[in-house]
Amino acid sequence: MTENMSRLLRLVFIAAALLVPLFFASGYQLFQLTLVVAYALSVLGKNLVTGFGGQVSLGQGAFYAVGAYTAAILMEHFDVPYWATIPVAAITTGIVGLALGLPALRLGGLYLALVTFAMAVSVPQLLKYKLFENWTGGVQGIVLLKPDAPFGLSLDPDQWLYLFTFAVGAALFLAASNLVRSRIGLAMMAIRDQPLAAEAMGIELARYKTLTFGVGALFAGVGGALGAIAVGFVSPDSFTIALSLTLFVGMVVGGAASISGAIYGAIFIVFMPNIAEEISKAVPGAIFGLILILFMFFAPGGIASLVAAQMRRLRLTR
């Protein structure tokens, strides 16, 4: 009974999250929420790799950039319609993730952190490089046009983009949720918690680790593509190490080993800087850092763990 009720509750939330902003939010707010979905997908990828898989990756921003530029290059140089760029971005980033994952995962812990950190730092330099300039637009970047609603639907571009992004996001979140509950997900968690025991049980560490890394990259790539279409612009300066660190913050604040945590995390990273700015114009970064530390104190497992604890308490008292 309670299982069905909680599923119903979740569906209601999801429907509300889609419909309420669609009809009542301003264009600007819809834009922000579209970004939230894009970042949520990237944070979700991180959660899969780090939270469920136990691998530290600081380079999610690099995959976000790959997805974003894939979409941009396809739209700009090949006239590919925006919706078709999403699957291409997904596959491209997934392959890049697998390719980078293979050597990177021989190293563990700190070393993986360094390599992924290095990836993220190198991205702007690579994007600006002479050889790729004709494709990437070099330091000038690429400007994209916002798509209009299809089939003559009476939605303006912001509303349509939100609907589109939400739909893609929801599909991927569902896929992630299923993945985590599947055998693969269990294997990932086993590797995270007890790698030696897992190996002894016959789970091929290398294969699952690489797979997880690739999936995480894929999610970030889709997020990047969606984000690029929403913002309408890509340039090397949009994808510095700051982006990877921001996504990392999103994961930690939202809750690393959780699917819904990605959403809380994304909301945090989109809206908290604005709040920090309200508090202090002079040192918004410091305020953000302070709030981050406070979150670590009061919700070390992330917002998702707080929410889960509350829900558990409610069910117990009912």
Partner: protein, 290 residues
Amino acid sequence: MEGFLHQIISGIATGSIYASISLALVMIFLATHQINFAQGEMAMFSTYIALTLIQGGVPYWAAFVITLVVSFVAGIILQRTVLEPLARAPILASVGAFLGLLLIFNNIAGWMFTYSLQPFPSPFGAGAPILGGLLSRHELGSTAVTLLVLIAVWAFFRFTKLGLAVRGAAYNPVSSRLVGVPVARMLALGWGLAAAIGAIAGMMVAPIVFLDPNMMGGVLLYAFAGALLGGITSPLGAVVGGVLMGVIENIAGAYIVGTELKLTTALVIIVVVLVVKPTGLFGKSLASRV
């Protein structure tokens, strides 16, 4: 040929900048088994404290010592107030805290000291070029200081009971407590020492790159890479790794791929080395009991 030699020497000088922060990172790692991402920003902040003292009329070496002490104490306070409460939380929470500290130090430094570039005095004199222009007196002096700190750190861990206690507290807190080591105090001590090392690094670096709140931003990655390249558990490795990073970066930029890709190239080289020797050049592999 002269240019090549010059690049190497210049690389060693730049590398010892990275090496000094690598040392602080290694110190923190040996003491707490964590990497403090805010190490660079803390070093920068310490340097500003030193500058404020010097501008206020305090002679250089007195300011140097005061800054060391202040940084040491600040490191201990940070560990007690920010890190200790997170000791039982998942490791990611600590990393989140490090990132928060990084943001706070950087932004506050900019607000308190402005973003204008500041010259920082060198205790070694700013005279005419020596060694035919290959090195400046300060670069020579700061490299010597880095080596001194290295020897001090190595000796501390190798020869003193306190050093052993600090390492033991990080490796095996339970057993350490059983033999009477005050684990919490050892962690705090480790932080204090790392902060002090960082302060020295900052004061050696500032005359070369000039002081501004973003001084350490570019250094941290190379320092991190250098520490891992050399072996995160080895102070000597940290210094060698850091210096190597400087040399590789210079050679890559000048002769291999040009300055536009030197960052990427240097990091690719690191990855290759690590894949071949995963614990770094001087690191020891840790066998863990199942």
